[in-house]
Symmetry: C2
Subunit: 654 residues, 2 copies
């Protein structure tokens, strides 16, 4: 078992975080093992080919070509691709590959990683600058802070370098990252060449991690500079070329400093990468005002701007958070990368506060809003993840929700999915001075502070989690903490077969004792299928209910309904029976939920004008009954295209 | 009274249209007279100043400057403003001013009109080309069909020229328009320099009207060419500079020809200007396949893609129609120009078919989705017209729904509002061989086919419409037709005090007799306040009801509620009493509707997670009652900013 700290977030010894990622974490079976197997064998393995095809690697080769004319711009060919930030796709793949190598040695993958590391090193300019778009004639470096994405790419390079170092022990890419960070440090700051921030946050969290890895304080100071400089209106799209629409300062969170903000706003990925970096800073600096702001912003996000699937970002327009409670199911933007960013932010808040609610959101997001972005085949992806798709949408060639696609013109999501899946063990367990905390449940081995346990579970299909102690310090009491999921209404907890008193402590079930190898803790989470309704403020899905089971959100896909019935023409009686069925042959093996529903009469669904006089007569006439089949939302859009909905209209009570 | 045909649409004698605009139509009092007075005295009067300030007129002066170097590009200064299509703002103002002059002589306005006409004439190139953006160095004419807007601007010039000709009898601007149209005819067509269409339809309807005015068949043929050429994928944004996002072919209706399309799609204004032009063509050519397609597309729009306010365009992203039944209240784009385009299309369909339903939609759109775009002060405007604004939206500087603004960077809407208000009499009445049809009710005089009537009404505040015959052909029977609004559930019709049998004929109440001057027809439309609910397919407002009265949609504005109660924290019992109140001092004089509602308890409106387990217990607990005040939607956003909603959540029945 790998015991080096192979994960993206490792608070330094000086950090105030009560929790640290478990020193050992390995998934050995079950739901996530299968998804990670596909990630390794297909997604990661095919990555270099995709990056070659899309021109990303060619850009590095071109930037690395010898300068024949002494000019700053190398003599290679021009930049391939449409976006300034394409280097970041390479960095994210590289980070993913490193976490995978940390978990499971793979000679082919290791060889590819080293080749790309050398290519990146060769492309770096002598002064440390590195962004192939500008090196290949795209413009003058550091003059387009709004859209240039130079610090964004730098951040991803740094994260890849940290991963490479943690996974392999090598300093090769870390040296490249340090040279770039040193260059940035020489360029940015009060009184220096540039005194502003990057349009896309990312470098903040990367610099903190670089500080954690190298113990170089300048990187922490630089991260703090970028955090504090933001929010003072120094960014303006007008300053950059080729952008004829102005998104306004909220888009890139330049309207107000993080510590003063009271709601999450603007581009969802930008907002959450920024908050992840701020959480890292708060951990390293003990800045309590900043921590309070982060708790406030997280709460704002969760209580007013998060979909049932954990997804965020309500607007296609600028890929943005909407107003409070603006959560349209059909036009949910819910970018896969935003779900990933939400996991990054929440995980850092879990470490910073020790509170279970952050991992509740991580669980919901992982199993639903995030996982839906990755096709079951490991090679097709969704960029946006709506909770409702109407019957004709998939016929539209320009519709981003239409089909899973193999790679994107703007390919941010696929390698981002890869790095989260490859690094997933990192997000499951923590340790503190008193013991071990299990945040998520997956079959495997987790250890820290002398306590090592083996988890066996059929989660998320079954609610039983068996935890067997492998190693424990002799006669020293330790606390094993198990997160009681917020979705769970009923549970039992036993230790060596005896039910224990288990009042949950803010979402944690805690067992303190001198553990002995072989001790077995068993948590049984009742997992009936259930109906969930929105609060009265969530306008877009008023009068509807969603089917959930355990951490999974379900949906109706047209293909599963009798006669391919359009799920937009049904309603569900509020007290409808829900029946769980095991379908090992379906979608890689799922449990479906059967729902006794009503098929709407034609006159409910058509007419000359879709608004009718209210009449107080209840439409208690009998509808045709129909047995509807719901599948886990994460598995949608893996078969023939068609309509889908998560939120099912509730039938009026007769 | 003006009796020349001063309106934008006049089918030729060869047209198959059963109805022609009334030869006389004059609004003399009441609701629309007041709005038109503000339009003339403020909006139109301030127009030239706005156009000067925004640089539009400077562009014409620069284009008209003497060419000192013999080059194609004049030696003037560069183009002022951000958009290629800014010339069209001038043309639309000019068209509006001409309709106003046709209605009411005004020496100042006439002088301004003639000065701008001369400026335009001077800016035209010798070969007839005219678009100041390209003339002032913006690029090479006719090489950027997707985004260049050259034919779009040409269309607006032609419409202004037709208006100028019809209002003043002058050929001065018409000659400019003909030279431009002839130039276009020489450039566009199979085997000619350019064989494609403009990214923004508009020239089609303009060319048909130019044909109608000049009797030149080439213009009709050119319009037909542009209509038929569209839908074959010849447009691509990739061909143009400076646009890094590709909207896809549906955006500009280039995915399928109009006659084959089965749903309205893409940019709403583009779609509806195109369909207006197609309706003109169908009228002039008798093309029944095209007419059938237009009826199909209109029905698709009305039954699945139109807001209660008559507004269209559900998506901010690309200002577009959404999928069927995708009608979010909060993120309604509902551009003011799209409402205007809907009126253009529906009016042409009314003329083409003689059917009342088209004017039903015109009425709803005029009183709600359109009129909301124009501030009561005549100098502030809304670009987008949502049916719901949450409390914090107005604090966002970048929010287009935030405030009425004096003029836009992209100022398409203000002069478009002006031309519709100035030309409004044109849309109220028609004549055919057998008599006169009143489509809309406004105090004034309307005449055609020998029958002239005087209408007196307090519409839309009161449902009584009194029609007195002023002139009638002696002893010749004529049919007076009055549209029975679709919203009206109960009415009585009397002739000279006697109730007449009046089964409505597809929305028309028809009275056939030999009318005598002094004959009085009185239509009483019952106009109680009423609750309207959406069909089960309109997901975004399920479980809500809207208050309507007559043709008016109502809304709750925060400022009118007790204690500035946020209208997002209320619910309305389904059988709530509605009380109409006259408020002459409010918003220029309105009737409000009082609604007995419930204030939600705090625990309905806040929490840690906005999704709750469904429990079958009805929340029958008493809520605090609150008297809510609804105002006409058209008048919203004219006072302090705050939350607004049209659709009110229905309280669960206790």
């Amino acid at each position: 078992m790998n015991t080096i700290q192979a994960g993206p977030v490792h608070p330094s010894p000086r950090a105030v975080s009560p929790l640290r990622p478990a020193s050992a974490a390995r998934i050995e079976g079950g739901f996530w093992a299968e998804r990670r197997r596909v990630n390794a064998r297909i997604s990661l393995a095919e990555g270099p080919g995709r990056l070659e095809q899309a021109g990303n690697l060619a850009n590095f080769r071109a930037a690395a070509a010898p300068r024949t004319d002494g000019a700053d711009t190398p003599s290679g060919t021009g930049f391939s691709g449409d976006f300034q930030f394409q280097d970041s796709d390479v960095y994210k793949w590289l980070e993913a590959a490193c976490w995978q190598l940390a978990d499971t040695p793979d000679e082919t993958l290791a060889t590819e990683v080293e080749a790309i590391v050398e290519l990146i090193a060769a492309a770096q300019r002598e002064d440390g600058y590195l962004q192939t778009y500008y090196q290949l004639g795209g413009g003058i470096p550091w003059t387009e802070p709004g859209w240039g994405h130079e610090l964004y790419c730098a951040g991803h390079l740094i994260q890849a370098a940290v991963a490479h170092h943690r996974a392999t022990g090598s300093d090769r890419l870390l040296a490249v990252a340090r040279r770039l960070a040193d260059h940035i440090d020489s360029v940015f700051g009060p009184g220096k060449q540039v005194d502003t921030v990057c349009g896309h946050p990312e470098v903040e969290t990367a610099l903190v991690e670089l500080h954690r890895t190298t113990d170089e304080k300048r990187y922490l100071d630089l991260a703090r500079y970028f955090l504090e400089r933001r929010g003072h209106g120094t960014l303006s799209s007008g300053a950059d070329r080729g952008h004829d629409r102005d998104p306004g300062p909220e888009y890139w969170q330049d309207h107000t400093p993080v510590r003063a903000a009271d709601e999450v706003t603007g581009h969802a990925v930008r907002q959450l990468y920024l908050l992840a970096g701020a959480a890292d800073l708060a951990a390293e600096t003990g800045d309590t005002e900043l921590r309070t702001a982060l708790e406030r912003l997280w709460r704002d996000m969760v209580t007013t701007k998060t979909y049932l699937t954990g997804a965020v970002g309500s607007r296609h327009d600028w890929e943005a958070f909407g107003d409070a409670h603006e959560l349209p199911a059909d036009r949910a933007y819910a970018e896969t990368c935003a779900a990933i960013a939400s996991v990054h932010f929440s995980w850092r808040m879990a470490l910073l506060t020790g509170e279970a609610r952050y991992s509740d959101l991580v669980e919901r997001t992982l199993f639903n809003g995030f996982l839906a972005g990755a096709g079951l085949d490991g090679r097709t992806w969704l960029y946006v993840n709506p909770l409702h798709r109407r019957a004709r949408s998939h016929e539209r060639p320009g519709d981003q929700t239409a089909h899973r696609t193999p790679w994107f013109r703007c390919a941010c999501c696929p390698p981002n999915v890869m790095r989260l899946l490859a690094g997933l063990p990192h997000y499951l367990a923590t340790a503190d001075d008193s013991g071990l905390q299990l945040h998520q449940y997956a079959t495997g081995v987790y250890g820290g502070d002398g306590l090592t346990v083996r988890v066996t579970t059929e989660y998320p299909w079954e609610g039983t989690v068996t935890v067997t102690v492998d190693e424990a310090p002799t006669a020293l009491p330790r606390t094993l903490s198990l997160r009681l999921p917020a979705w769970c209404a009923d549970h039992t907890l036993t230790v060596n077969g005896t039910t224990v008193e288990d009042g949950a402590d803010s979402g944690w079930l805690r067992i303190t004792r001198a553990f002995t190898p072989g001790d077995t803790v068993r948590l049984d989470l009742a997992m009936p299928a259930r109906l969930t309704v929105p609060s009265s403020r969530v306008d877009a899905v008023r009068g509807c209910a969603a089917v959930e089971r355990g951490p999974l959100v379900y949906c109706l896909e047209q293909t599963d309904q009798p006669g391919r019935l359009d799920p937009d023409t049904i309603a569900v009686p509020p007290d409808t029976p829900l029946t769980v069925r095991s379908r090992p042959e379906l979608l890689g093996g799922v449990r479906t939920v059967s729902v006794a529903g009503n098929r709407l009469r034609a006159d409910d669904t058509s007419g000359d004008w879709p608004y009718l006089p209210y009449t107080s007569a209840t439409s208690g006439e009998p509808h045709e009954s129909v047995e509807l089949t719901a599948v886990p939302y994460y598995a949608w859009a893996n078969r023939e295209p068609g309509a889908m909905r998560v939120w099912l209209p509730l039938a009026a009570r007769g």
